[in-house]
Symmetry: C2
Subunit: 298 residues, 2 copies
């Protein structure tokens, strides 16, 4: 990856400063109005029933600190704390009626604040702002996602393949049979590789590389979680797989995909893949692609 130019760094920091000072600070100040910020945030994160453990990891809080804050909210009648039905070590927290009202009020205030900030703009300018923000957010999310090789039998790998299978099953008119998935040993060690994309610790995508014949590899199960689509993650996975293939001395990569996955086909085409006749009789493929690799990528 290219080193980051000082120009980019400067502009990025410039925006950070402006934004956190102007918006972030304001937000915090208003949200917590008559309640400590920590408690207000907690209230916000408790949807309908979360475990303390979940909150603790999500917000990165100390166990003792969290326990006490939850207790304070309980004393104020805003949340109900109960024992987890299946694991009595865990505590479940949920909003009471009063808590939901309080949260609504909190949201109302935050909405009013946001509306006040946007007030001076025309509708067209608001549209442009919204678009710029969503572009920025997409790119920031993408930047935060890491792609790492994992063992084909690792839980994260299997979880991705399960999600992939369910996804395809719902999309294909003919359904999808899990027996078509790669077996762990096909994508481990000498035989191949498996990559998982992580966003804040959660697997949000995957891709497999399998040896078809000497010097020829096959890409399979390139998949991106619905929440992480349209970020450009598939291309990142593709790059990682191709780099791995090149490192393993493959000169040709093949793959098949389904007619209904038109975005996928467009991506492969623009990535240098060309359509070829079927090279195997996979049940679910009906478009076949190939790309010649140009030596190991540095």
């Amino acid at each position: 990856m290219d080193p980051v130019s000082t120009q980019h760094v400067a502009e990025f920091r410039q925006f950070n400063r402006y934004f956190t000072r102007r918006i972030g600070a304001l937000d915090d100040h208003y949200l917590g109005q008559d309640r400590p910020l920590g408690e207000a945030r907690l209230l916000f994160e408790i949807g309908d029933g979360v475990s303390l453990r979940e909150l603790r990891t999500r917000l990165g809080l100390d166990a003792g600190y969290l326990s006490r804050m939850a207790k304070t909210l309980q004393a104020q009648g805003l949340v109900r704390i109960s024992v987890h039905p299946h694991d009595s070590r865990l505590r479940m927290v949920e909003l009471t009626r009063a808590g939901r009202i309080e949260l609504k009020e909190q949201n109302r205030r935050a909405d009013a604040l946001a509306a006040g900030l946007l007030d001076g703009l025309t509708t067209a300018q608001r549209d442009r702002l919204t678009e710029a923000m969503s572009t920025a957010q997409r790119l920031l999310r993408l930047a935060a996602i890491t792609v790492a090789p994992v063992d084909g039998a690792a839980p994260d790998a299997r979880a991705c393949l399960d999600a992939y299978a369910a996804d395809i099953d719902a999309r294909f008119p003919e359904g999808f049979d899990r027996s078509d998935l790669v077996r762990p040993e096909e994508v481990s060690g000498e035989a191949g590789a498996f990559f998982v994309a992580y966003e804040e610790g959660r697997p949000v995508g995957c891709g497999a590389l399998r040896r078809l014949e000497p010097r020829v590899g096959e890409l399979r199960h390139v998949w991106v979680h619905p929440d992480a689509r349209r970020l450009g993650l598939a291309r990142r996975l593709l790059t990682a797989l191709e780099r791995e293939a090149a490192a393993r001395g493959f000169t040709v990569l093949r793959l098949d995909t389904h007619a209904s996955l038109t975005e996928a086909q467009a991506m492969y085409r623009s990535g240098g893949y060309t359509e070829i006749p079927p090279y195997a009789d996979h049940v679910y493929g009906d478009h076949w692609f190939e790309k010649r690799l140009s030596g190991p990528v540095s």
Copy 2:
């Protein structure tokens, strides 16, 4: 102005949340490394010589709190505190050599953090991110700017005209004579109006409306501070002036501008102004425009 749609509010808040949680929090955490955040921020805001008063209003701090923080930094040898040369009530703070080194280190860390966040992106993606951020920032700044009528003799009005005159003087080959500026009484009360644009309390632009003859007004001195250009502020000032003109029953607005101000001409044209023959013998005008107003704007 249109009411803000819930869609815009939702997207705006969505971005806020993501950004403050991902970037803002991180930033704070790293910046303050071995020093309380408050002190780190203070160090950052002390360029070369600011008064405590300035810092107090800029950062919104309690006087006592600030006094103590400054003292802590002084004790660490990072800043020098002296009495203001012209007003012995004020204290001036400036960085010492050690303070500048410390600040540099702080910046280095923040840069490294930013570079780390951008690391996963390609150069093209970084470009797009930078562009989206600067668009967002421009629009957020514009949204924060208010345009208000002030008396033509008010200090803010005179300050803007001074800046305007200096600006024009530097731009025009023939210089600019301040006697051409409107006199306060020409833009006060019945005779006309004067608008000033404020960004965070500072005047950053102005525009004057003057009665030429019955039902005919003239726009003069539409000016935007160099720091606030390319935000769309001139157009906002124009809108405010036209609204005011319509409210006063003017049916025609005229103005003159200089050949060297091509952006200004483009703006007037796109705002519905058409070029006309000279309507007076102003020294500095060489392009003349007119617009017919279509009744009071609501």
